[in-house]
Point group: C2
């Protein structure tokens, strides 16, 4: 495998699965060429009969299926998904081999795919792998190299023609007989369906699978029937309790609350909260929810109304919308039932997709318009490079999610405890770079806040703040003092996965872990 | 010019402006090949500064402008548009020549373009020409051949790569600093902006022009900022009084009311109104509005709720929505202020665009899901071919609009008086075929209703109806008896324009009119 060195000094392959790749060069340094791709031109003449077929098998009968084909799924049903495993089982029963699996993400519920990779039905995965399939990948269990992409990066790859999908299977909480589909109605309502948008627009064949088939028209049309070949009603899409939580739970641990408050005070003391067009993004973890409550309180005190808050929607955000603390929620996925209900009912709760929010190969997505973004990570190093994919012991257990994209905010804050059990979070070098330090502005820990020295403007803004500012080196020393220097994982030479930066260049490689460990 | 004969016996060119063309073969007979086109892949790296520029000139300074380039506009501002003329003037001042003008439609307000065609700034028009520019075209005044397309056909041509747009200028009643734009807010609110969607998705360069620039985000995003290069605030887009009428006016003439009631009774007596999933489409003319009132009354009597009505929205339709006579309005353009207000405020009034409604090169658009479509025409012949483009005297004065697309309804009804002044509407042969008889099901006149004999099923359904059914030949005879046999226009051999069927094949040619007439 011919390797290249990218601008971070990381070694990445020159070619992945036969496709030439570019090394990461720094933010905004790679200029794409060529034109966006397009799916085959269809004709209405071939869609005069009903698109609704009786069963998944009936749909599969009508598809062009072949060995080595690439199939895709979205992950809005998360760990409650009941469709991916069934489709792969059925393709296995039909004798298909070497399927390339291109989901937006896989979850622990998809563990049965491990068997299908081992028996050759599935060749490799082009997408995020949370849990068991990532574990298999780490030990070299896939026939070819996995590619991890951010939400925006996946849309980009499909749009630019790097990721060609032969058949997309789109689970839809509601679909009409024309194939229009959304995620806000029906017993499996999950909120937005944006992760499936690129698949619907660019895949050669598109199947919508629903447990709530209704007459034309349903509304909204997150997926448009004009891009859909077949509609399959099924009894259920999955386990609604695992598709969205009933409610997301705010942190209660004092150290987590302290980190959340530090982050909120950092946003406040930076002055961003007072400037026109305030907006922020935070996740659905307990610490993020606490951050939202703190920042909302500082907004109330300063009588600030945000232009928008970026979801992953949760009750924390929908409460802000109801209270008038923000004009809009721009939502990429709903994490709890309040998020789903608000998206369905509140006209200022807007469904978005990775094209508008995160795709770097657009004439601007809205990610850089977010003023403050609060994100988590598994490791951060002295150069502020962040790792969200592998653990310090080398296991690839997480997807990128929207991390690289959300890090485009004007103030990107990583919140994390300084160490987890015996693992320091601040390290000399991260095992895997998910996002380069130049895009990370601050790390907020329970032992102080380090501002990226590249952001002198931010340091200037924080003069007079009583926040406990420290250097990243100090954080590192404190972490090591508490945990000791951790053992480094031992890797073989084989690249089992690559991490794409959102512009399609390679930012890092994931190596096969030595099983001796 | 090499000519071909199409399946209607009409002679059409084998090549138009250097591009190979296919002859019309009958509905659904042409199968497209290849893939949809795509615009150049942009990079967010080139969109880190503001997109908002001071003036139209500042925007033009930033565009790649060249002789022979194709530029486009939408026509949602109709005869109130104040932007097209200004842009062409500015391009003329910059010395550009041979511009190909590809608007969705031109109106009488655009008469100044006649001068720019004569002086070589504009070469020819690829789009609908209502009025003076059509008149110029008819006498051979354009350098190359004009191409007329339906709303769906224009989207198809852009999507399929037949119509490449170098720069699109999109007038937007509201736009935010990111380029997201809609037509429901602001002083020039016009309703939907769907006619500009394909331009925004596929043009190389996209400029949004607005008289209501707002902070990010505005909502809805009929045009997405991720497709927009520049945003230009201007004082006003045009004349709001001519963009939408205050109110559209229902017919009062007894013969027009009779035709409208015949059409409504035809829909009722056909039984379509009683079947599940009723829906219909009608226009904004006085007779269409009367039809809506009659059909609404029959729906009330039969306690029918439509699944949707297709707009062109008017007060007649928004009243139906408010009354609960339809679940949805699916709106392509708003014709009066009630239509605009309803689209802005009523969540069941849905904005559509030609991709979802009319584009034949999709996996189905919703046009064939419309049960009954009521349309007008300038001529209809014994084969039920309809002409909406030229007058009987040979002048090309109208665009296709959505005619070809709306004729895909299950019951397509042409309403027309049997003759206008000395012009019979039913003729032996129409001057120009806009839509083939096989897609036209009935013609309703003040002298009786002719059902297309191809629709024996419809004739069967109408047994027992007291509607005055007659043959098309009888209508023709009655018309001629009243008007005499009209003089035929005298044409030269030169093809000045071609009429594309919605699948991209050529259904007819428009010839240069002999000026001796």
């Amino acid at each position: 495998m011919e390797m290249m060195t990218n601008s971070l000094g990381r070694r990445v392959p020159a070619e992945v699965n036969g496709q030439k790749k570019q090394p990461f060069r720094g933010i905004g340094k790679f200029q794409p060429t060529g034109r966006k791709t397009g799916p085959p031109i269809p004709s209405g003449a071939n869609f005069t009969a009903s698109k609704v077929v009786d069963s998944l098998d009936a749909a599969l009968d009508r598809l062009h299926l072949f060995n080595g084909m690439t199939i895709s799924f979205h992950h809005h049903l998360r760990d409650g998904d009941g469709i991916v495993n069934i489709i792969i089982d059925k393709l296995a029963q039909r004798g298909l081999k070497d399927i390339v699996l291109a989901p937006s993400a896989l979850f622990p519920v998809h563990e049965p795919i491990v068997g299908h990779i081992k028996n050759g039905v599935v060749s490799h995965v082009l997408g995020s792998m949370n849990g068991p399939i990532g574990r298999l990948c780490t030990t070299g269990g896939m026939k070819k190299t996995a590619i991890l992409r951010s939400h925006g990066g996946r849309y980009r790859a499909i749009q630019d023609g790097d990721l060609h999908i032969d058949a997309a299977f789109i689970s839809a909480p509601t679909a009409d007989t024309h194939g229009n589909a959304n995620g806000v109605l029906g017993p499996s309502a999950c909120g937005p369906l944006g992760f499936a948008l690129a698949d619907s627009l660019y895949a050669d064949q598109v199947v919508v699978i629903t447990d709530n088939l209704v007459p034309f028209p349903t509304w909204p049309w997150s997926i448009e029937g004009g891009n859909v070949d077949w509609v399959v009603p099924v009894e259920k899409l999955g386990d609604p309790g695992k598709i969205v939580s009933g409610t997301t739970k705010i942190a209660t641990e004092p150290d987590r609350l302290m980190i959340a408050d530090y982050a909120a005070r950092l946003v406040r003391d930076s002055g961003l909260i007072d400037e026109p067009n305030f907006s922020f993004q935070a996740g659905a973890g307990g610490m993020s929810l606490a951050f939202v409550q703190y920042v909302a309180q500082y907004m109330r005190e300063k009588k600030v109304v945000a232009d928008f808050v970026r979801g992953g929607s949760t009750k924390a955000l929908t409460d802000m919308l109801k209270e008038g603390l923000t004009r809009f929620i721009l939502d990429g996925q709903s994490f709890d039932l309040d998020g789903v209900q608000s998206l369905r009912e509140n006209p200022n709760h807007i469904e978005t997709n990775p094209f508008v929010s995160y795709n770097y190969h657009t004439k601007g997505c809205f990610a850089p318009r977010v003023k403050a973004s609060v994100l988590g990570g598994t490791e951060i190093d002295l150069d502020f490079n962040v790792n969200v994919n592998t653990h310090s012991d080398g296991w690839l257990l997480h997807g990128i999610g929207g991390f690289q994209d959300a890090a485009d905010a004007q103030l990107t804050i990583i919140t994390a405890p300084l160490y987890r059990k015996t693992n320091p979070i601040v390290l000399e070098k991260v095992v895997t770079v998910t996002a380069p330090g130049e895009t990370i502005d601050a790390i907020v820990t329970d032992h102080g806040i380090a501002i990226n020295p590249r952001r002198q403007d931010l340091l200037d803004r924080l003069k007079g703040s009583d926040l406990p500012l420290v250097s990243i080196e100090e954080l590192h020393e404190k972490a090591i003092a508490a945990t000791g220097v951790p053992a480094k994982p031992r890797f073989k030479d084989k690249v089992v996965a690559v991490i794409e930066w959102r512009d399609g260049t390679l930012i890092d490689s994931v190596y096969e872990l030595d099983p001796g460990q």
